[in-house]
Symmetry: C2
Subunit: 367 residues, 2 copies
């Protein structure tokens, strides 16, 4: 129950929880121990571990696996709305692995490792580091030989693109939802305006593990101002009995939003901010060349109104991906659309993913 | 020289200064003393004053006046690129008045009044208060009987719309550039995420008149993340020899951007955040009714990529304005386009304003 509690708490920050009828069952979560894990930077994460859950069974060929990597402040429950007998990912058909990034609070994170790596001493982790950790989980621990799909929202989409570039022969389908293959300069600047609120918070700077009261407010308000579209606000979708106006809505988010593990957020935020598939060894910083190297089919679903990963960035990247199907989510929920914020968003995502899997399976000769 | 120095300093935060050849001459600035000025709230601003400059001469009918009210962090120089013999506003044809809002640092502001109204004791001022102060300046001090146009960018546009609602028989043309008649809920939330950085800054909370070092950074980064469009960043328009990357660009803005008068920014920011022409006495909070009451022609020029005053908000409001000409600025400079950030933006604004004035003058039978 503790685990579910945390999941609902986090999801509440970025989107209303999905309707109960659409929730997946909750299998027990597992931990994969990586031991000493050498990061791309050369730094070492001792006793590294990845928290994950699985739904369904791996087939005899080891080829029906679908990986869903977590996103910023997400957990192994973030994709529950896509999983189930009536959803895009049926556990009787697929071996579904939902794994958490470093910094999630479940996988290795400043909040759950012991000194001397606690808090600010935790090394910087990249998206590629997360992909490599999950690659080891899948191949060494779970005997997966082929990934039918890597499906990710937000930082999960960043990881999905990285999978297609780092392991081009292993992935049949990439589903990138409201996330890009590179954090383009606006995202870098926007994230700097967020992460500075942690890094230079008075309490954090004084050595604490929690934000000052003022820092919590600035942090939550930052995300609230960016996550939804102006249309969402103009149509007053923030209104409820408990939150009849903008002030009450912001106050509510401040009360219930995630502020408790700032060093974890910083580790994840820096991974987000610095990501670029063009920086993969062999591509010499050339984003377009890295995108052209992708062999997987790519279902690319930016949110039409996303201010974190704007539509224009996805359109730009799509020009360099050979087998791309660009399908913007027609939503005013901004970035949150990609997390399944509204019933219409969830239906759109499920339908598009199911359709893309059908196409890939038809091409592979799978019934 | 001191005055010019401040102007360039402030403009540098939101846009590069216009080319020297397009700068207007610099007439001496004047101060209009309002005495005890009763605000809409009932509070009194003692010894209130408005700083302004004029270009050209009032004609015998008192009807060739054009008012340009200042915007957030703007000054009486903010519209220089529109003023001159080769620009939209020729001083041989118009009596041009550029007046600064309360909180500008030139007009009454926390930074320039004496105790007991210094800093946090300064009363809240509305957009309507600014309009009424400038109305008194024009009618009592300058003998203006009719306004050919009120032209404003950003908070200047908010004031221009308020003029048309409060004084429907006095204004022939409203030019609203990258600013709306109401701060819609997204703007309210976005501004809260900015203003909390001042209001709850550690130094300010301790009674200082200046922000903490961390607060300055958070404040500047906030504005930098919002003012330009994602396309502007992706096309690397931040690049220069001195700022080859995003980090260097942000560091430069932190060094030179406006952080020195936080209480002034708060007074202006709250006026921006709370504005709604629907709250004008007589309209009972009905924005659409207030917009329908406008008799002036309205040239409405949102920036196509503005994240402060999004295009959708301007499109929505336009539906209720009878004689509106909606002409989005085709620019990737985001909100800064409305301040004439690029040569193309300045040319577009000048041409459209000149054209609208020609149309209004033809209708009025003026050669």
């Amino acid at each position: 129950m503790r685990c579910l509690g945390i999941a609902v708490f986090l999801v509440a920050c970025v989107a209303p929880p999905p309707a109960a009828s659409q929730e997946a069952d909750h299998p027990p979560h597992h931990t994969f121990d990586l031991g000493e894990f050498t990061l791309e930077s050369g730094d070492v994460l001792p006793a590294a571990r990845v928290l994950y859950v699985t739904h369904g069974e791996l087939d005899a060929q080891g080829s029906n696996a679908v990986l869903l990597p977590s996103y910023f402040l997400g957990t192994h429950h973030s994709y529950d709305f896509l999983i189930g007998p009536d959803a895009a990912l049926d556990p009787t058909e697929y071996f579904i692995v939902v794994a958490e990034m470093f910094g999630s609070g479940g996988s290795s994170s400043p909040s759950n490792v012991e000194a001397p790596l606690r808090a600010t001493d935790f090394p910087a982790v990249s998206i590629r580091d997360n992909v490599e950790a999950m690659h080891r989980l899948l191949t060494e621990q779970l005997s997966v030989r082929r990934l039918r799909a890597v499906i990710g929202h937000s930082m999960g989409a960043q990881q999905a693109f990285q999978w297609a570039v780092s392991h081009p022969d292993l992935v049949d389908l990439v589903v990138a939802i409201a996330g890009t293959a590179k954090t383009h300069p606006h995202g870098v600047a926007r994230l700097e305006s967020a992460l500075t609120l942690i890094e230079h918070d008075a309490s954090i700077a004084a050595g604490a593990d929690t934000l000052s009261t003022a820092g919590k407010r600035a942090w939550i308000y930052h995300w609230m101002a960016w996550i939804y579209s102006p249309e969402w606000w103009r149509e007053r979708l923030y209104e409820s009995e408990a939150t009849p106006n903008v002030d009450a809505f912001l106050a509510g988010r401040l009360r219930y939003g995630p502020t408790g593990r700032p060093h974890d957020y910083l580790v994840q935020g820096r991974a987000w901010q610095t990501h670029d598939v063009g920086a993969t060894p062999g591509f010499d910083g050339d984003l377009e060349a890295a995108l052209r190297s992708i062999r997987a089919r790519v279902l690319y679903m930016p949110s039409a109104t996303d201010m974190y990963f704007p539509l224009g960035d996805a359109e730009y990247e799509s020009r360099f991906i050979e087998r791309v199907d660009l399908r913007p989510i027609p939503s005013i929920w901004g970035h949150a659309a990609g997390g399944g914020a509204s019933a219409a968003d969830r239906a759109f995502l499920s339908e598009q993913i199911a359709r893309a899997l059908d196409m890939v399976e038809a091409a592979l000769g799978i019934e």
